[in-house]
Symmetry: C2
Subunit: 359 residues, 2 copies
């Protein structure tokens, strides 16, 4: 089977690019002196996870992912979203099977439920290093109360400086990386001053992991999207277009003087428009030829559920021709697919790798 015969739309993964992306981040972590705990919310695939593995554990965004990766032999997992109280029994089912699944909390109620659970659950306390999503500011009075509530079930502190996505230069991202480091290390020091355990000091995202200059005091970083890359990451400089390992294979179903229409629309590409906030707005995705080479200036300008529309029409495309589309935000795009079709620099499909979906 090759890309010229695969049913479309389909999610394509270039294995060589993924391997290079993984190697680059392993080197970054080594250079910075921290462990690499790859965040698997983007890849959602055990085959990609094995490429990303760096000797330690991994990070997930849903309990479904935790269950899937645990079943595949990943026994050191951090679930980096604050756990709602009703999820604890489901998490405990993994812990009771010997999986080291570490939870996250930023509330006294959450910590109390974790501390009181009959299974030996453990949790990190989430620190807000400027993203203002979840987490507590490092100076917040509640930080120590939450850690004390967890007691010996406190695994440490964790932060995610998501505001790095608002930066447009390496220097700006490096400054956010330093804010991220400083916040989570300050929180760790407060815990330790009180005699509370804080073995783990976890931070990071693909932007800050890429441009951080110093991570003194941190123990691990958790980037994820770097494994596949996307147009937004290219726009902010954490990868190049040639690093983007994931694309959507599509077929032209209409070609006229005013437009070309492909069979990949809002469901196949997602409605993410994150590049609109950058200097490289790619509308709903960058068109490439079947070999994966970007076609200058050709983007999917409009999406309906199963239609992607290109106006003006890229030259030379006819009904039945195949193209590939690079995604704005690969986490959103890939989530629609239950598998990757794997290539490696050619149009030959070498393998099919399953992906986990849902919650």
């Amino acid at each position: 089977m090759d890309l010229a015969r695969l049913p479309t739309p389909a999610l394509i993964l270039d294995r060589g690019r993924t391997q290079r992306n993984a190697a680059r981040m392993k080197q970054r972590a080594s250079d910075l002196g921290v462990a690499l705990r790859p965040h698997l919310k983007t890849a959602k695939s055990v085959d990609v996870a094995r490429i990303a593995q760096a000797g330690g554990g991994a990070c997930v965004s849903t309990l479904r992912e935790a269950e899937y990766f645990a079943a595949q032999g990943f026994t050191d997992l951090v679930w980096a979203v604050c756990a709602a109280p009703h999820t604890l029994d489901r998490a405990a089912a993994l812990v009771d099977r010997g999986v080291s699944l570490t939870l996250l909390t930023d509330s006294v109620e959450g910590a109390a439920a974790i501390a009181a659970h009959p299974s030996p659950l453990r949790a990190l306390v989430e620190v807000d290093s400027g993203d203002h999503r979840t987490g507590l500011l490092p100076q917040d009075e509640a930080l120590l109360r939450i850690a004390a509530t967890l007691g010996d079930r406190c695994a440490g502190v964790l932060t995610h400086a998501g505001q790095s996505y608002g930066c447009r230069t390496p220097d700006a991202i490096a400054a956010v990386a330093e804010d991220e480091r400083a916040a989570v290390v300050a929180a760790a020091e407060r815990l330790r001053e009180q005699g509370l355990p804080c073995p783990v000091v976890s931070l990071g995202s693909t932007p800050t992991a890429t441009f951080a200059e110093d991570l003194t005091g941190a123990t691990e970083m958790r980037p994820g999207v770097y494994l596949l890359g996307d147009l937004f990451q290219a726009a902010i400089g954490t990868c190049t277009l040639d690093d983007i390992a994931a694309s959507v294979l599509a077929t032209v179903i209409h070609a006229s003087d005013s437009r070309v229409v492909i069979d990949a629309g809002g469901l196949a590409l997602s409605k993410d428009r994150s590049t609109a906030a950058t200097e490289h707005d790619a509308a709903y995705g960058q068109l490439c030829d079947l070999a994966g080479t970007p076609l200058e200036g050709a983007t999917v300008t409009e999406v309906h559920q199963e239609h992607g529309i290109l106006r003006p029409p890229p030259a030379g495309l006819r009904v039945g021709d195949r193209v590939r589309v690079l995604p704005n935000h690969v986490c959103m795009t890939a989530a629609a697919y239950d598998r990757f079709h794997v290539v490696d620099g050619s149009e030959q499909v070498l393998d099919v790798w399953e992906r986990v979906q849902g919650w």
Copy 2:
């Protein structure tokens, strides 16, 4: 099981609302004197399809849907997206099993491939009634060539006036409905003048089906989103908030002075922002209490992959509380879920209905 104990995020369907929505559209079709061929791209569920059935066939947006519904006994299907040539063998596998699966084409190449296929494939010719997505204008010279190429495999003509989504009043939608009718009927008349077969004259969407005043010459209409409803449909007046049958059940995972965060983010709600173009911008979704009652002015203002953020924080919500979110565009939101949890005006989960995903 009730909604207070279900894992979150989860997709909730109110059966009574769905039944009322279905009954209303059956009555519309009856009043207008056309067959109702419900478009199942929104529901993607055989249980909802059975509620929607109106004596005839159904419409689908993907071959995967066609295969799923055919396996469940739906033997009269229209696949209302122009078929790429490589899909014909897969479509033929259904036809050869006795399913009346009618394809769609708007090109001579497409028609030739259908006409030449060894299985008895049939297709409708797509007419562009102003949406300018796929299809040919009714006066287009190629229309007759395509129909003639199909020969006795021509099933008729089909159109979708998607520009109705740009309308903001019933009168404006009624005018588009008339444009839609006039275009597809004109195309049908051109075919018949040439002695070409044109038994089916198919049109419609939820907006035009709701507000059309006369469908003379049409044989069937294909609305779909009306079965579930959403905030965009409410904003343009095809339903009320009380008709919206689908919602996302979520749990509060963070509550502070500045924000509430729920465990339904960009994947659970989709990144569709279609209500931004209306007078009722609901950001990423309208917050409701657990009973499904909208909380005035409370919307999901920002989404990350697994986080939905509400700023300012709705009063009274605490970590662990459950809420429901009405979607902007239910087709996009529901696509992330492999099942509906079914309620009927209460918080009791009565059933679980599977949904088909992917391609």
